[in-house]
């Protein structure tokens, strides 16, 4: 109850300025993530070659495995922390939300989706293909290669956390997503999430089959299947837009005359 009250106080302060939309938290998050990713990529540029070729070398332990043992617990904590915070501070009387506040939250959700989309790009595109770059260039001698430590165990958890945050924000603050579960939103979050467990299949296969790094090998198709579910952004966007339109009925004429 006290937490709710604190949150309420914060919301009241926000309401004083009464800004309907503020994407700057999303921009700043993306800027910070961008800086982080570039930094980690520079680290990879340097320590990939210097210490990442032989998983039995002591420097591999120092520069790569330590990184992994650091990032994984932090990611777990971030996942639980964000989900827990959003749940604890949920709107407990959500059906009483005013249209203006609901619109504000819908727009905030779009900011969340932007962050999620940004992290999906980095995970599914940038770091996944750079994994191909590395494994087709050098010999893959462990499940935890430098590119995997940054791809599977860093960029993927980050987009999962971002998707989880977006999903939980909607679940706890926006009536249409709180009262029922949005199927597309669930798929949009859960599909790419399932890529993470699919890593298990990938590593199992690479361990037991002598394979060169053929990217189109059937072993990799599980990633593709779950990647398709990101297209559920379509339905999620429609659900958000449907409500935005509903809440903006008074300007329908203006909108349709544009």
């Amino acid at each position: 109850m006290s937490l709710t009250t604190e949150k309420a106080a914060g919301s009241v302060r926000a309401a004083e300025s009464d800004t309907i939309v503020n994407y700057w938290p999303a921009y700043w998050t993306m800027i910070c993530l961008f800086v982080f990713y570039v930094t980690i990529r520079i680290y990879e540029q340097y320590f990939g070659w210097k210490a990442g070729l032989d998983s039995f070398a002591p420097e591999f332990q120092t520069y790569w495995l330590n990184l992994m043992w650091t990032e994984l617990p932090l990611e777990f904590i971030a996942f639980c922390g964000i989900g827990g915070y959003l749940w604890k501070t949920r709107d407990r009387n959500i059906d009483a939300v005013t249209p203006r506040e609901e619109m504000r939250r819908l727009l905030t959700l779009i900011g969340w989706l932007a962050i999620y989309a940004f992290t999906v790009y980095w995970g599914a595109s940038y770091f996944t293909e750079q994994d191909g770059t590395w494994h087709q260039t050098v010999i893959r001698d462990t499940d935890f290669t430098p590119s995997h430590i940054l791809e599977f165990y860093l960029s993927y958890p980050i987009y999962i956390i971002a998707g989880w945050g977006a999903f939980m924000y909607a679940r706890t603050r926006i009536p249409q997503f709180a009262n029922k579960i949005s199927l597309p939103f669930l798929l949009f979050f859960a599909g790419p999430f399932m890529i993470f467990p699919n890593i298990g299949l990938n590593e199992w296969g690479h361990t037991f089959w002598f394979m060169e790094e053929l990217f189109t090998a059937p072993l990799h198709w599980g990633f593709v299947f779950f990647g398709w579910f990101a297209l559920a952004v379509f339905g999620t966007a429609c659900q958000v837009l449907d409500r935005v339109i509903e809440l903006s009925k008074e300007y329908e004429k203006d909108a349709l005359s544009l």
């Binding site: 309907i20 087709q136 260039t137």
Partner: protein, 256 residues
């Protein structure tokens, strides 16, 4: 205890003024465009690189049989799905182009920053397949016909057939040949041979290695027609998959 800021019933208005509404709509439009572009980029890229990526990564995979067969088929999935969404929900004839541009943006960033910047392969070994004119074709056919059925039939045919001619202006130069130690190699073969890929031996290439019988030397048209036919089927399927992903269903909390 509500955290809503305006006390009372959820009546009232969402917007203070028309200007506020319009300004917000315009700004949010851009954010939505970026969201869609980035998600399509990520999703399409992982799909394409794991189903057709090897042909796309390397110049010495870009043959006249497998590459023009596989690449358009695999690319068609997302072109159709994004078209389905943007056409049906927004009447925008840009779906295929958005998909192609998104994919190529992701690919080029990676080829430059990682294949060249990290592992030092020259760009002429690792540039991606060109796709954009195929996107224009598919989008304009949909716009003109207004029919996904016509687009599946006519659009897919052009989609598959255009692929090789689109890529040829860049590829042709690498199909000039050289004699190396008495062995005939195209420049594409030679780049792959010269620039060592420790994890990628030559035999891994899934390329034409001679067939029992071909119609003269017309391998590419046969591959392109076949690719087009399969692309038609893919288009039907993926238009529906795209439509399915635009569903706005809700399920009861108790159901999960």
């Amino acid at each position: 205890m509500s955290i809503s800021t305006e006390a009372g019933a959820p009546a009232g208005k969402a917007w203070k003024s028309k200007e506020e509404f319009l300004g917000c709509v315009m700004l949010t439009d851009w954010i939505l465009l970026v969201v869609l572009f980035a998600v399509v980029l990520g999703s399409f890229h992982i799909h394409y690189m794991l189903l057709a990526g090897d042909w796309d990564f390397w110049i010495d995979f870009k043959d006249r049989r497998m590459w023009p067969t596989v690449a358009p088929i695999v690319a068609m999935c997302f072109a159709a799905a994004v078209q389905s969404f943007l056409w049906q929900k927004f009447r925008l004839p840009i779906g295929a182009t958005v998909a192609c541009l998104a994919l190529l943006t992701g690919e080029w960033i990676n080829r430059y920053d990682n294949f060249w910047g990290w592992t030092f392969f020259p760009i002429n070994l690792v540039f991606p397949s060109a796709l954009i004119p195929m996107g224009f074709w598919l989008d304009v056919v949909l716009m003109m016909s207004g029919s996904w059925l016509v687009t599946a039939l006519v659009g897919s045919m052009g989609w598959g057939l255009l692929f090789y001619p689109i890529n040829w202006p860049v590829l042709a130069q690498y199909h000039q040949s050289a004699e190396i130690d008495g062995v005939l190699l195209t420049l594409a073969d030679l780049i792959g041979f010269n620039y060592v890929r420790t994890g990628t031996p030559e035999y891994i290439r899934m390329v034409e290695r001679g067939t029992l019988r071909t119609f003269g030397k017309d391998v590419v048209p046969v591959a392109a027609f076949f690719s087009s036919f399969i692309s038609m089927l893919i288009y039907f399927l993926w238009w529906k998959i795209g439509t399915w992903f635009t569903n706005t269903k809700y399920i009861e909390v108790d159901d999960i």
